[in-house]
Symmetry: C2
Amino acid sequence: MDDGPDDLPPFDLGTFLPYRLAVAAKRSSEDLARLYRDRFGLTVPEWRVLAHLAGAGPDISVRDVEAGIQLERYEVSRTAARLAAKGLLEKTASPADRRLVVLRLTPAGRALLAELLPLAQAYQARIEARLGAAGYQGLDAALRALEAEED
Amino acid sequence: MDDGPDDLPPFDLGTFLPYRLAVAAKRSSEDLARLYRDRFGLTVPEWRVLAHLAGAGPDISVRDVEAGIQLERYEVSRTAARLAAKGLLEKTASPADRRLVVLRLTPAGRALLAELLPLAQAYQARIEARLGAAGYQGLDAALRALEAEED
DNA sequence: CAGTATTCGTTGCAATTGCTACGATGTCAA
DNA sequence: TTGACATCGTAGCAATTGCAACGAATACTG
C-alpha cells in the first residue's frame, strides 16, 4: 500500500502554461490545417512560407523568410524545395549577391493563395468572434508580453 | 516591374493567431526545456509523461496518460519505453485487465521529479509575474475559451 | 457458449526533423 | 591582391515522428 513518503510537490500539468499554450497552438494549427491540408495538400511549414511570401515584397531570400516565420534556415530551405517541386514557387540565384536564393511565387502559387488566404482570414475572424472583443484583446496583450524579450 | 495584378488579399502572418500561438508555445516550451534537457536529459514528451505521473494516482495505464497529456497512444508507448530504459519508471501488466500496462515511477523517477517540479513551478510563477495578475487572468480566460469544444 | 467486434499497446516502414559539416560566395583588413 | 573570416544555402546522417497494421486480451451479441 505504502508507496513511500509522498515527497513530490503537487503538480497539475493542466494548469501549466507551457503545456496549455502547446495544446492551444496544436489545436488551432490543426483546425487551420484542415483548410489547407485536405484541400491543397500543404503542410504547416509550407503554409507558413507561402503566407510569408504573400505578405512580403517580391524579392525574398531564404534568410528573409527564416527571420520572418520562426523556422530554422534548413527547414525553410527544404520547404522551399518542396514548394518548388510542386510548382508553387521558383528559386533563382540573386544577381546582386549570388549566395542568396530568391523565392518568388509562381502564378499557380498566387492562385492557391488567392483561394487560401480568405479562408485563413475567415478562420481568424471566427476565433476572434468566439473570444469576444475583450477576450481577444486580453489574449493579444498576453501574447505580446510573451513575445517580448525576457532575461 | 509589374508582377501582374496584385490579386492577393493583404495578409500578415505576424497577426495571425494560430501562428502567434505556435510561436509563444514553442518559445515557452524551449525556455522550460532548458531546465530539464541540459540538466536531466529529458525531452518534451518525456517531461510530460513524468509530470502526469507525478500528478496522478499510482495506477496509471498508457491510455490514461494518453488522455491526460495530449499525446498519441504510440507516442506515449515509445516515451514510456525510453523512460523505462532510463530507469525512471516501470511498466507492468495490469492484473485486472491484462491489456493494460501500468506505469509507475521508480525511486529514481520520483527523485528526479522532486528536483524538477519546483523548477517548473518557479518558471510558472515567473511567467505569471511577467504578465501581471490582470494579464495572466486574460490569458487564462482566453486559453480556457480555446480549450472548450467548438463546432 | 461461439463468434464477432472493440480496446490496448506495440512495431515496421516511410517521411520528416535536428544537428552539423560543407562548398560557394562575399566582406574586410593589411 | 591576398588571405582570414563571415554569411548563405544545402545535404548527410541519425533520431524522431506519423500512420497503419498487427497480436493479445476483453466485451458484446445472439
